[in-house]
């Protein structure tokens, strides 16, 4: 087993609003090994994005606050670092790719300029060396004609190329961990396939770990080795890709997999989960999936389910499994 790069323990993040405390993440734990890709899957509001932002400590303050737990990157708890020390982590040890490249790039600077920014900040190279590194970052992301592209502004690039430029910024300092938040959602299907294949190659070359946040099971199957399924601020199941697709255990995972149509199957009627996820302002006392669960029991309503280890790096939180 390779070394653990990131370890998140019992992380809790809340947003304090006029209506009350919104428990966006409520005690989640997971690990990412070196060179591994862990997928985080869930619907909107399940806490996927907040997980990424909490790791980087980029929550919108003062409303969003981490109220408990640990984020350990290579033995160091990021939550104990000073603001300055944290600045040396972002972009250098951990970097991030967001969904919409047009929003994460600055329209008035060339992409070369934007890639150079983090190299200049973190690596202290001379300007000539920085330029070389920028070109090599563009080359790593397989952007054609990097010597010319380096002078392009974001509007001159296509959507797929823009997202590669964002990838070049993220990879420019060879981070240990990459957090990719829905990086392919804004891309067309064939371009998204290219992007995923590209990142798998880059991962093999650099051995960086990836935390891959998405709602798309198809993308998860292609990109990740393991998956954590989130529901209403909790991880309900962690499993290897194979186990997830062949033998999902948590009722939510099962229901979700059944409600996503698969291309290789014909359906007369698609299964659908009734109702909606609960409001994070007013969570049920017991299991959060209780109101929508088909195998609910009395105990589920009253007490939160325990987390049960089902294998190496696999776990389920459900009363049905514990019985």
């Amino acid at each position: 087993m390779s070394e653990t790069v990131l370890k998140v323990e019992n992380l809790k993040t809340s947003f304090f609003t006029n209506q009350g405390e919104v428990k966006a993440i409520d005690g989640i734990s997971f690990e990412v090994a070196e060179g591994e890709t862990l997928g985080i899957v869930g619907e909107s509001g399940s806490g996927k994005t907040v997980t990424g932002l909490s790791i980087l400590r980029l929550l919108p303050e003062p409303a969003g606050r981490i109220i408990g737990g640990k984020v350990i990157l290579e033995g160091q708890n990021l939550l104990e670092l000073s603001k300055n020390a944290m600045r040396n982590v972002r972009g250098k040890l951990i970097s991030m790719i967001l969904q919409d490249p047009m929003q994460s790039l600055n329209p008035v600077f060339t992409i070369g300029n934007q890639i150079a920014e983090s190299i200049r900040l973190h690596r202290g190279f001379s300007e000539d060396k920085i330029h070389e590194e920028v070109i090599s970052a563009l080359r790593l992301l397989r952007i054609p004609a990097p010597e010319r592209r380096v002078h392009d502004y974001p509007f001159q690039l296509s959507g797929g190329m823009r997202q590669r430029a964002v990838g070049a910024i993220a990879m420019s300092c060879r981070p240990r961990l990459l957090i990719a938040d829905e990086p392919t959602t804004a891309l067309d299907a064939t371009i998204a396939s290219q992007y995923i294949a590209l990142f798998k190659d880059i991962q093999k070359m650099t051995n960086c770990s990836i935390l891959f946040i998405t709602h798309d099971f198809g993308v998860v199957a292609k990109m990740c080795q393991r998956v954590a399924v989130m529901y209403a601020g909790k991880i309900v199941e962690t499993a290897s890709i194979r186990a997830l697709f062949k033998n999902p255990k948590h009722p939510y995972t099962i229901a979700l997999m059944n409600s996503v149509p698969r291309l290789d199957q014909r359906y007369d009627r698609l299964y659908s989960i009734d109702g909606q996820p609960p409001s994070l302002l007013n969570l049920p006392e017991g299991c959060r999936f209780y109101p929508r669960c088909e195998s609910r029991m009395d105990v589920c309503k009253e007490q939160q389910p325990p987390e049960i280890k089902t294998g190496a790096g696999e776990s389920v939180s459900c009363w049905k499994i514990s019985k």
Binding site: E43, A189, S193, P261, L263
Partner: protein, 324 residues
């Protein structure tokens, strides 16, 4: 003989591109370049393709939101371009309705649900307040909402509920055809199935025809009876749904299917072969000569870059490829 509700014949839409002080036309964006299709009564046709393929242009032409450069659209056998504005208002527009992708931007946030759903009724018919209210209540029940919710504003609803309101509004005039532009892609995974099932139920109950625009092939397979795959303003493959997925003939279709299928790693961790296309879709301003797909096609040969492939027909299956 199939009961054809709507037929598109050789639709062409070119948008002029202008430049300079005098706004001279320097070229055309060929958004649609000879698109032909038909929609049977009570059936669903899906238009599939990447952004820039011309799906939305086709839908806009059907909804008469854009006038075609050339080509004709036949509704129940009548050319809608030969109809007068008054005829269109009475006989075409009320019978062809639309549901948009994003339920957050397709509704006026300052109108109550009651007024949103009643608007097509008020515009198209003389109706009393009481009648409108009863009809709205009935429509909301039909899409699985509580009729008491009609006094609420859109922001009080979740995405899935809003999409139900949009469907209720489209159903208000008992249309024959509904154009659904990415009806579920803005919704959460667990909600998508609910809306797709609702749309299928309504189709069955009212013998509705749908034109669905989508990019997710699994959604398309579940929703539609026939599928048209579009690339750079043209239909490259056109077939009945099951036929298309069982026997995709065009290399682009095969790449799309490969891109959207769930590949589960095998026992020994081996990976399945995937078709990954190189490059991007060329600009519709200046489409490549010959077959428009040849710049990205792994099976292209010399002829593909020179000769435009003709539409070949195999039974009900049509494909535009030299290899087929």
């Amino acid at each position: 003989m199939a009961d054809i509700l709507l037929e598109g014949r050789n639709l062409v839409k070119h948008y002029p591109v202008t430049a300079g002080f005098l706004q001279r036309t320097i070229g055309y964006v060929r958004a649609n370049d000879g698109v032909s299709f038909f929609v049977e009564r009570g059936k669903t046709l899906s238009l599939v393709g990447e952004s820039g393929a011309g799906k939305t242009t086709t839908a806009k032409a059907v909804l008469l939101l854009e006038r075609l450069t050339s080509g004709s659209i036949l509704f129940e056998g009548r050319d809608i371009y030969q109809m007068t504005e008054a005829q269109l208002k009475k006989e075409y527009r009320p019978r062809v309705q639309a549901v948009q992708q994003n339920p957050w931007s397709s509704m006026n946030p300052r109108m109550r649900v009651r007024d949103i759903v009643a608007e097509p009724l008020v515009v198209n018919s003389k109706i009393t307040k009481k009648e409108a209210k009863d009809r709205v209540a009935q429509l909301l029940e039909q899409v699985g909402l509580n009729s008491a919710q009609m006094e609420h504003y859109p922001h009080e609803f979740s995405g899935g509920q809003r999409q139900r309101i949009a469907v209720a509004r489209a159903m208000a005039l008992n249309p024959s055809l509904v154009v659904l532009d990415e009806p579920v892609s803005a919704l959460d995974v667990s909600i998508r199935a609910q809306i797709m099932n609702l749309l299928k139920d309504l189709q069955e109950k009212h013998t509705l025809s749908y034109v669905v625009i989508a990019h997710n092939l699994a959604t398309v397979r579940y929703m539609s009876h026939s599928v048209a795959i579009m690339y750079l303003g043209q239909i490259v493959e056109y077939a009945e749904t099951e036929e298309l997925f069982a026997k995709p003939l065009h290399p682009y279709t095969r790449a799309l299917i490969s891109a959207s299928s769930m590949v589960i790693p095998g026992e020994d961790g081996q990976e399945y072969e995937q078709i990954i296309l190189t490059g991007e879709m060329p600009s519709p301003l200046n489409p490549p000569p010959g077959c428009r797909f040849h710049t990205r096609c792994s099976e292209a040969f010399e002829r593909c870059s020179k000769e435009v492939p003709e539409l070949k027909t195999f039974g009900t299956h049509q494909v535009k490829c030299h290899r087929a």
